[in-house]
Subunit: 514 residues, 2 copies
């Protein structure tokens, strides 16, 4: 169906194709990352075994709560768990056995098949910030997010070379009713971008809307047989699975759509203040959550998630880019690989109110750690600001540029003859320089990663041009990207069907704002 | 001698001790880092062997130049090298054999023995920025550095908790004659700080001044038997060893003082554009340089250095925090460990003109990589700006704060009973919170790294306080640190002797400004 859609686009899109050609550089998207470098293994075998043993103890002795969800309770009983009202105690080894049906790797399809992503194994897929109710930019400052902002972020994501995924709630469009905004958000991802995207999880019915709308975009048959959404299912840590999130997950699993099952950890509040204790709880929670996912549909694609921040014990604020978060993210990656599950963690995290140096230190700490910890799906990989309260337009562009570094890092070191460069060393010799040598001439275009945002100019030029800081440069780049944006071609009949679905659904309900 | 100096301070320092007590928090210095985490090994055995083989080929077939240095040529001849005028070709395996006398680890003594640092093995010692002719701060903008600036940086280094080393040329005091400024710089490090420091390398005679002044500070006997300076010897890449740097190194080696023998690589200009080619050249250069160091005095303490940046092929500007630099830094760390040598690389590198987001991304990329690549001595660990042209007061403070993250990261993950936190998980249970539980109460003070600079405040508080960005916060912190600075106590007789030496030397020469 995606191919059919591509063919249709090919037929009717002469003007679009010419436009696309003119802006070809801007809409280039890098393939998802395939790591040719090792992962960083911070825990030794003994530590891993202790944590794994303790997680099973937690499941067996303490158990987890599945709230307001009689069907889940029944499923757990049938699977052999020890159930007492909402408390589910899982015998040692049972959860680990149940998750064996989960795939190690899966493909999430995009409407443009060139943008399909493979999630798991040695890959990493980058998706933008998710969830903030506010946006910020240099023109308008900090304000509640609207649908107009949302669409701008989807366009920026589409135009970002190193971003593979359009994401989900890139900001909360607060000018649209809570019970309707998922429809507008999905439509924006489907129509304004051709990258893969996420579904709604705020009600099971909204998950079903997401599946139904994908049926219009990809064709129902295609959706039945293929994964076209990856959606975010948070666990109410510690060890609580609420009916809303579980209800959405049930819809997705039953439709063979991917879920990220993700403990939401603020260390010191929702988990112990120690790293090993937090990893124990994370592992217990994902074992229970992913086992339940597989109980709903064995073989459904699922990702082990870990969202980690620590609480600042002086102010109570969440903190980002910290060494404790790094320890947990590295460790959780090892646990995910031992379970044979794709792994989601890290992102452009910061507590800063501005896209300033603090934001960049904290973000770079997390992005680097994300790559080396073996993350397969990096949600929030660009645009996050102020502890997740704000989606920043400038930071979106700055962070997305930094993702290029991760792409290049992941390629590893070539030691083929060209990589060895012995001819160059012989040609240049002691005291010479390599600028003009044959090897440099042959390789300089691809040898080094190059920013599209940061400043490499001489001081004098930079001063003449107004001493612009990174935020100012990113603001200009963002404006340019939006000005160059061209909607990717889509069969008008499909777009009409999506519009009609959204309009009908919205007309069928009164507005709700909570 | 250092102990004697400490005793003297104890006797005469009643007032100083009371002052020190009042500012005790500010002058706390963390012990140098001892890694309890693995290093990141980016190269596999095959790649390492290829690079090692090729480096020996470079030494044997192409060789290196020792310029204007007949004594070096004689030493190489005697050692068995194939010498043709200034070109020294080193038979395969000879350099590797010669460096076997270099220690794997050594102690650099400080005048305060509590500040001694161990360099090599699993340690990492952080020293500040080195070399910029300009300084920048929010008050005065960008300007030529003066001795007053230099002293401020030494004071900031002394007050920085996570900085172990006072460094060397923290900026070039351009208001002092070139042939005299090393004397003022050394005096500042000796008198204004009690952390270890670096010696002068700009002339062999200045290296000798450095040794002689250390004799006054530590006692001549102590200096003869112990390492009290670590100094930076750059190689003129590609494969050229000039007489000034080699002359300084000869003085230090003969006096058993430590040298960092460091290729200075701008990839694409002084080395091939490929990572493996650059590593080959780096290894050939350090093998030759360190072998020569050991020819001067077998057993002299020496560090394998690697300074790496790439050239931006569009503008010719050096670039920092790039993935290619990361590849080289990780790889060179592996090569150093295989040679059994302490390793110097990474730092607070950036090409940005301001301590903004670009500066922080690039710096964080390099600091994280430095820790994971096994760096033992991190020169430039704070304060570097604008490609090394500028020492930034605000960035010094910002970066030095980030070094705390490296300290905590390096501690690794504890899986003792307290780390496992099973009691906490049992106490809290599903749906509870950890804020008040016994484990949190017992551990919260030390559980998480905490910044002394960055902003964790709620948005409203931050807005009321003037929406300060990181640079503004760091500026205030810098002012506070300088206001709180107290000179560490030093025997007045020693200080007088140092002053007299400096004054006499300066009076004995006309000013030279080139």
């Amino acid at each position: 169906m995606a191919e059919a859609s591509a063919r249709r686009r090919g037929r009717g899109g002469g003007g679009a194709a010419r436009r696309a050609e003119r802006t070809a550089v801007s809409i280039e998207t890098a393939k998802y990352i395939e790591r040719k470098i090792p992962n960083f293994e911070i825990l030794n075998e003994e530590a891993l075994e202790i944590i794994e043993h303790n997680a099973e103890t937690v499941l067996e002795e303490i158990g987890v709560n599945f709230l307001d969800n009689p069907a889940a309770i029944e499923r757990w009983k049938a699977a052999g768990a020890d159930v007492n009202r909402e408390r589910v105690r899982i015998p040692r080894g049972l959860a680990r056995e149940l998750i064996k049906t989960a795939p190690r790797q899966f493909t999430q399809h995009a409407r443009n098949p060139e943008r399909n992503v493979v999630i798991g194994g040695n890959t990493m897929v980058c998706a933008p910030v998710y969830g903030p109710p506010f946006v910020r930019d240099m023109d308008g400052g900090r304000r509640y997010a609207t649908m107009e902002d949302f669409e701008k972020f989807v366009k920026l994501g589409y135009m970002s070379k190193w971003l593979h995924h359009s994401g989900g709630t890139v900001c909360e469009p607060t000018d649209v009713a809570v019970n309707k905004r998922h429809l507008d958000m999905l439509r924006a991802h489907m129509v304004l971008s051709d990258k893969p995207f996420m579904g709604s999880v705020t009600e099971p019915s909204r998950a079903q809307d997401s599946v139904d709308m994908c049926g219009l975009l990809f064709g129902k048959d295609f959706v039945r047989d293929n994964t076209v959404m990856t959606s975010l299912i948070n666990i109410n840590s510690p060890m609580t699975f609420d009916d809303v999130m579980m209800g959405a997950m049930e819809v997705y699993a039953e439709n063979n759509q991917a879920c990220i099952v993700s403990p939401f950890i603020v260390g010191g509040a929702m988990a112990p203040v120690s790293v090993a204790g937090t990893l124990t709880q994370v592992l217990a929670e994902v074992l229970a959550g992913i086992a339940y996912n597989q109980l709903c549909r064995p073989g459904a694609p699922v990702i082990m998630g870990t969202f980690v921040t620590s609480i600042d014990m002086n102010s109570g604020a969440p903190t980002f880019g910290t060494p404790e978060a790094a320890h947990i993210t590295y460790g959780a990656g090892q646990l995910a690989r031992r379970l044979g599950l794709p792994y989601r963690s890290a992102g452009s995290f910061t507590g800063s109110k501005l896209p300033d140096a603090q934001a960049a230190y904290e973000t770079a700490n997390s992005l680097n750690m994300g790559l080396l910890s073996g993350v397969n799906f990096m949600l929030h990989s660009c645009g996050w600001l102020e502890g997740g309260l704000v989606s920043s337009f400038e930071k979106f562009v700055m962070d997305a540029d930094q993702l290029g570094i991760l792409h290049h890092l992941a390629q590893g070191v070539s030691v083929d003859e060209n990589g060895q460069a012995m001819d160059a060393i012989r040609e240049v010799g002691p005291g010479g320089h390599y600028l003009g040598c044959a090897h440099t001439q042959a390789n300089f275009k691809s040898a080094f990663w190059r920013t599209d945002v940061l400043d490499y100019k001489p001081f004098e030029t930079w001063a003449e041009e107004g001493e612009r800081d990174t935020m100012t440069l990113a603001h200009a780049k963002m404006k340019q990207m939006l000005a160059n944006y061209q909607k990717p071609a889509l069969d008008p009949a499909i777009e009409e069907a999506i519009d009609a679905y959204v309009d009908e659904k919205k007309a069928s309900m009164p507005d709700a704002f909570a």
